[in-house]
């Protein structure tokens, strides 16, 4: 099967307009005859569900949380990018496009990224109209801040809770459509399979998490907006419930999975404090606007930060990347932090930390200003660590945060299965090998508000999908498979808890497939993960029954998928014999330790096709051709 991204012809800047003109439309009176299933209610899912319902489609929305308002987009702190150029500092669609492609280390698809930059301004307009309380200047205009990987101020924000406010905007739009009867909402419901009939996605099988009931829902199109897979590392900044299950089960049904090895390790997280830890907490990248990152020049010092004189401090980001300084992109900042800690210059318990110091900013701007900008983050830091960051610098360390990889989608955001659309973090399309800060919110909302509503209609009008009832044999078979899987998990009755397997997998992934990867470390994982998986299926202990709220069972299903998916991630990382963005292979680096790309051999999207558990997946390549941008070595020096 050859991968066709279905990118419209013509110059880059006109592709999306051309697409919108040439696409087929569904007559308003016919829209209500089409049903769309949306799984996941984060920014991408909620905005898609609301916008599709507003157009007149019948929507069924599903989330595993107890309310659609709680999806993990809510935890995004810093902001959302848009090429508004409100600051008159030289921003433009072209520049946002350029920054995103460069930030992604030339591993993203040009046409998609350009479209993303084009619709970015509409997102801000839409959200402001919904009543999202963005930060404002005294004159009443919107405020901006700067973010990593950009030299303009294009990030819009709502204190340190931008994700929350944008999600509530989308959730409220959804609630309006629920009230109008256009969306049927199913909270505490987990998708466990996608149903394919004659090669097209026709519905899903779900489990009601309260009663345990397994049931089917048919739709003319299925949209997965189920987020990323950073929890494969066990410790990540993701919510406890984040998982790869919906996306992975679609992969097992034939949807290709692209670039799983592109996993973002965020540089500014609170360091781990012990084995009990259930998750890591992000400190927004926006803090790097005013905080300076440093470690002592000499290793092994256990001095308090205030006792280290200025002359003995190494502001290593400012030293190594003078033009971007503390706002160097995430992959570069994370690796730099790891580098100084590996040299033995890290601070705090175990030497796995660097300082993020606000002393200068407080001197320059006053504590009140810093409190207004980041107060909630400083409070959160104090709650977790018991330390006051106004008085002593924060200690931070990188942690797994975001998945640039995801289901392969074409320009329509449709997977290799017709009728199965994948949006937001769950797809692979826009961030290449590294995502810039404040771009995830932009992408999720671009997909849901402004892209999917067009492309789904085009699918309906051009493919004319035939309706399939849930009584169809494929639905019954998928339900049976799900029931059997549940029974199997509950029937093992072994000795080890689900969490213990998840932790062990996470440790393997972090140690051997985290910030630095080598052939040897990846091969270790490819040996160990199948063994761990085998042990899981022999020795896991899942308590309770299938006919009730059973959180242990929910987790078991998700960990079972991570135990397969982790292997796929390592296979991808092993095959990509280059370093690019977040994917750093120690064999491929420049003399000064920067990522060394191999454009001659790896300027492509790696899309993997499932061939069976314990079988090597098949690699398909979508070549990345750059018409507008020149492939160049990425430099932030």
């Amino acid at each position: 099967m050859s991968l066709d991204a279905r990118i419209p012809g013509g110059p880059l800047a006109q592709k999306w307009d051309k697409y919108k003109f040439e696409m087929k439309l569904v007559n308003p009176a016919n829209k209500r005859k089409f049903e769309v299933i949306v799984v996941g209610t984060g920014l991408a899912g909620a905005s898609a569900a609301a916008s599709l319902a507003e157009l007149g489609y019948k929507v069924k929305a599903f989330c595993f949380q107890d309310s659609p308002r709680r999806a993990h987009s809510i935890a995004a702190q810093g902001g959302i990018n848009a090429a508004k150029n409100y600051q008159n500092d030289g921003d433009s669609v072209q520049r946002l496009f350029y920054d995103t492609i460069k930030g992604g280390d030339f591993r993203a698809r040009e046409a998609n990224v350009y479209r993303l930059a084009e619709v970015s301004a509409n997102i801000i307009d839409q959200c402001a109209a919904q009543g999202v309380p963005f930060a404002r200047e005294y004159g009443g205009t919107l405020a901006n801040r700067s973010f990593g990987g950009a030299q303009v101020s294009r990030t819009f924000y709502a204190r340190g809770q931008t994700g929350q406010q944008l999600l509530l905007g989308a959730y409220q739009a959804m609630c309006r459509q629920i009230g109008l009867g256009n969306i049927q909402m199913f909270p505490r419901t987990e998708m466990l399979d996608v149903v394919i009939v004659d090669g097209q996605a026709k519905g899903i099988v779900v489990r009601n998490l309260v009663t345990g009931e397994i049931s089917s829902h048919a739709g003319d199109a299925v949209v997965l907006a189920t987020g990323g897979y950073a929890n494969v590392f066990f410790l990540s900044t993701n919510a406890k419930g984040c998982n790869v299950t919906a996306n992975y089960r679609a992969y097992k049904k034939g949807a290709f999975f692209a670039n799983p090895c592109y996993t973002q390790i965020h540089p500014t997280c609170i360091p781990t404090s012990g084995d009990h830890q259930s998750k890591l907490t992000l400190m927004s990248e926006s803090l790097r606007n005013d905080g300076r990152v440093w470690v002592p020049k000499q290793k092994g010092g256990q001095r308090a930060p205030a006792d280290v004189p200025e002359s003995e401090r190494d502001y290593y980001l400012e030293r190594k990347y003078p033009s971007y300084g503390n706002l160097a992109p995430r992959d570069i900042s994370s690796r730099a932090a790891k580098g100084v800690c590996d040299e033995g210059r890290g601070v705090g318990p175990g030497g796995r930390g660097v300082y993020l110091d606000f002393t200068d900013a407080i001197k320059r701007l006053g504590e009140a200003t810093i409190r207004e900008r980041y107060g909630n983050l400083f409070d959160m830091y104090e709650k977790i660590t018991g330390e006051n960051a106004y008085q002593a610098p924060m200690r931070i360390y990188p942690a797994a945060h975001y998945a640039m990889g995801g289901a392969w989608v074409d320009y329509n955001l449709m997977s290799t299965i017709p009728g199965l659309f994948i949006v937001g973090e769950a797809n692979f399309s826009d961030h290449g090998a590294n995502r810039l800060g404040a771009s995830a919110l932009m992408q999720g909302l671009a997909d849901g508000y402004f892209i999917l509503p067009y492309t789904v209609g085009n699918y309906f009008a051009s493919a004319k999908p035939v309706k399939v009832p849930t009584s169809h044999a494929e639905f019954k078979k998928a339900e049976e498979d799900v029931r059997n899987l549940t029974k199997r998990l509950l029937g093992i009755n072994g000795k080890r808890s689900v969490v213990s397997f998840h932790k062990e997998l996470g440790k393997l992934m972090w140690e051997n497939c985290g910030m630095a990867r080598s052939r040897q470390s990846l091969e270790t994982n490819l040996k160990r993960i199948p063994q761990l998986r085998e042990e899981f299926w022999k020795n896991v202990k899942v308590t309770g029954t299938g006919e009730e709220l059973n959180q242990d069972l929910e987790l078991a299903g998700r960990v079972a998928d991570f135990l397969e998916f982790g292997e796929l991630l390592c296979i991808d990382a092993l095959h990509r014999e280059e370093s690019c963005g977040s994917h750093f292979r120690v064999e491929h680096q420049t003399e000064d330790g920067e990522a060394k790309r191999d454009d001659a051999n790896f300027a492509y999207v790696a899309a993997w096709e499932f061939k069976g558990v314990d079988k090597q997946p098949e690699l398909h390549k979508e070549p990345l051709t750059y018409e507008e941008m020149k492939l160049a070595t990425r430099s932030y020096k």
Partner: protein, 258 residues
């Protein structure tokens, strides 16, 4: 440190529930309250018992999922803190801690410490939005919002919908939650057009869900992890009174020609 937990266990909404006593051993002060429960659950699983069901997701105080009454106080009594951000350094060796679910008629129990808060979603569905479709919204700077207004709207919008306000109130009133959403949107120029119908419809839905009345004891504000102010209740009462005085708008008798 070592602690004693008295945890509410209840199989489902229809079975009777009771407190069970568990020892929480070797607890580290750096653990969050939920990580402490994780440790207890791991031990229960190892001993062949069913773990304690409790809700949580983001574990960084923003999703509003966690919902525990800890020794009588929703979220445990540390100012501005959800249970997931409450750390064990707040407790002492040998403490006995009771752990209960939110208790309110409008939040039916699901299992153990897990309750159903769909009522909050239905209140938002009744009017907690701005009726604007996705499409060609005007430029975001076309409507100026004074910083003071944007700030107060943000103060209200910070509500995470956890329901601690209801759990703390002796009347199980949802006034603080509803007032936060009404105020967020009614303060902003974008929300003004539907100001009256919003407050009317949301209050009507709140009453229909079976939440109690507000007697302004302020217990909601005291436990709110986001510090939502009682002043928003006053704001909502004003808006509600105005909406009542204005009454239902006249229905237009005929649509436009076309």
């Amino acid at each position: 440190m070592n602690l004693t937990l008295k945890v509410w266990r209840q199989k489902n909404a229809t079975s009777p529930g009771q407190f069970e006593t568990y020892e929480a051993r070797d607890i580290i002060p750096d653990m969050s309250f939920l990580e402490m429960l994780d440790v207890v659950n791991e031990r229960l699983i190892a001993e062949g018992h069913e773990p304690i069901a409790f809700d949580s997701d983001c574990r960084e105080g923003i999703c509003g999922t966690c919902s525990l009454v800890i020794s009588g106080v929703p979220h445990g009594g540390q100012k501005g803190t959800t249970a997931c951000q409450l750390h064990m350094r707040r407790f002492k060796e040998g403490d006995t801690i009771t752990v209960e679910p939110w208790r309110a008629k409008a939040f039916p129990l699901v299992k153990d410490l897990v309750v159903n808060r769909d009522a909050f979603d239905r209140i938002v569905q009744a009017g907690g939005f701005v009726s604007v479709n996705t499409g060609n919204a005007s430029d975001a700077n076309a409507i100026l919002v004074p910083k003071e207004i944007a700030d107060v709207a943000m103060d209200a919008a910070a509500c995470i919908g956890c329901g601690a306000c209801v759990a703390a109130c002796k009347n199980a009133s949802a006034m603080l939650f509803v007032a936060a959403k009404v105020s967020h949107l009614n303060y902003l120029p974008q929300g003004k057009a539907e100001k009256d119908r919003r407050v009317r419809n949301m209050v009507a839905q709140m009453d229909a869900e079976g939440f109690g009345n507000c007697t302004v004891t302020g217990s909601c504000e005291a436990v709110c992890p986001k510090g939502i102010s009682l002043e928003f209740i006053a704001k909502m009462n004003r808006d509600y009174a105005v909406a009542l005085v204005k009454g239902e708008p006249q229905k237009a008798t005929a649509g436009g020609a076309g």
